[in-house]
């Protein structure tokens, strides 16, 4: 399992999802594709279909309407799929903790592997987060085959 994840993460295909955000994080993610930051040199590509995704980038404070869609999309994603939560809202809902329409943080809906804090995190931070994830998975693959994927991705 971790070997496969490692292979997939050599050129991760990213699916981006906003669960009710102000879109700053989403725009910073898109900025990563533009010439100044250019994540395609890492082999990262933004895909339009969840079925082709290796990495699910989630932003937003997961409001009630989006929570169901998030869950369904995660179920459709072929495993192994790494979930990256970008921005304060997706970490703990940030300033929307008491919001009547944001009942739970994202990691109560789907398991999150990487948290990238910031409001919004700069594209450098987003790239650093994804690269850190790839390095960690690579290292974990070297260290132990046969470990459970949760141990690998969150170790």
């Amino acid at each position: 399992m971790s070997f496969r994840l490692n292979a997939l993460l050599r050129s991760p295909w990213l699916f981006h999802l906003s669960t009710g955000s102000c879109n700053n994080c989403d725009i910073e993610v898109l900025d990563c594709l533009t010439p100044r930051f250019d994540v395609e040199r890492f082999g990262m590509v933004l895909t339009g279909s969840i079925k082709h995704a290796d990495v699910l980038l989630v932003t937003g404070s997961c409001n009630r309407q989006s929570a169901e869609r998030l869950r369904r999309l995660y179920e459709q994603a072929p495993k192994p799929c790494v979930v990256v939560a970008i921005g304060e809202c997706s970490l703990s809902r940030g300033m929307f903790v008491e919001s009547y329409n944001c009942p739970v943080p994202i990691d109560h809906v789907v398991p999150v592997d990487v948290y990238i804090p910031g409001c919004p995190p700069k594209p450098e931070a987003v790239i650093a987060g994804v690269v850190k994830l790839m390095a960690k998975v690579r290292e974990a693959t070297k260290k132990g085959r046969g470990k459970a994927p949760e141990e690998v991705a969150t170790a």
């Binding site: 009630r64 903790v97 009547y100 329409n101 739970v104 943080p105």
Partner: protein, 158 residues
């Protein structure tokens, strides 16, 4: 039309319906009216005086539900805010969708967030709240309380 002419027109035509007029500053006038005169006043402002409808703000004061309709007369930089006070238990007022399409969305929003019914609105469906939101809970009411037992309101840090 000058500012004074606008106010004269308004107070002249609707002298009985106007409950109070607050001439707060050169750019801001607040007019409290009888809800029955809402369509008439709005027609005067939108159709005859050419004001633009900015939006409507619903407020739950503990004694009533107020809706303020904000109209801006751009050539003279005057904002006329028309206020209606509605019964808190069953707030009902005429819809302005017959006058301009701009009222559609905001009336749906006030309907779901404050529970106001708009007489004559064709499709008073939900706009912002999700489908699973309970029908009788209006978030912007003063007596709104947490109804969801599964909501997590701490940040997970003990």
């Amino acid at each position: 039309m000058t500012r004074d002419q606008v106010l004269q027109e308004l107070t002249g035509r609707f002298s009985e319906a106007i409950l109070a007029l607050w001439d707060v500053s050169p750019k801001r006038v607040y007019v409290d009216i009888d809800p029955a005169a809402l369509v008439g006043v709005s027609t005067l402002l939108f159709r005859e005086l050419g004001a633009r409808f900015c939006t409507a703000s619903g407020v739950d004061t503990r004694s009533a539900v107020e809706i303020l309709y904000h109209y801006i007369l751009e050539p003279i930089n005057l904002m006329v805010s028309v206020r209606v006070s509605l019964d808190r238990k069953a707030p009902l007022v005429d819809s302005l969708t017959g006058l301009f399409a701009a009222a559609d969305f905001i009336e749906r929003e006030i309907h779901e967030l404050l529970g106001v019914n708009f007489r004559g609105h064709e499709t008073p469906r939900r706009l912002l709240l999700p489908e699973q939101w309970p029908d009788d809970v209006q978030p912007l009411r003063r007596d709104y309380a947490e109804w969801d037992p599964n909501a997590v309101r701490d940040r997970g840090v003990r």
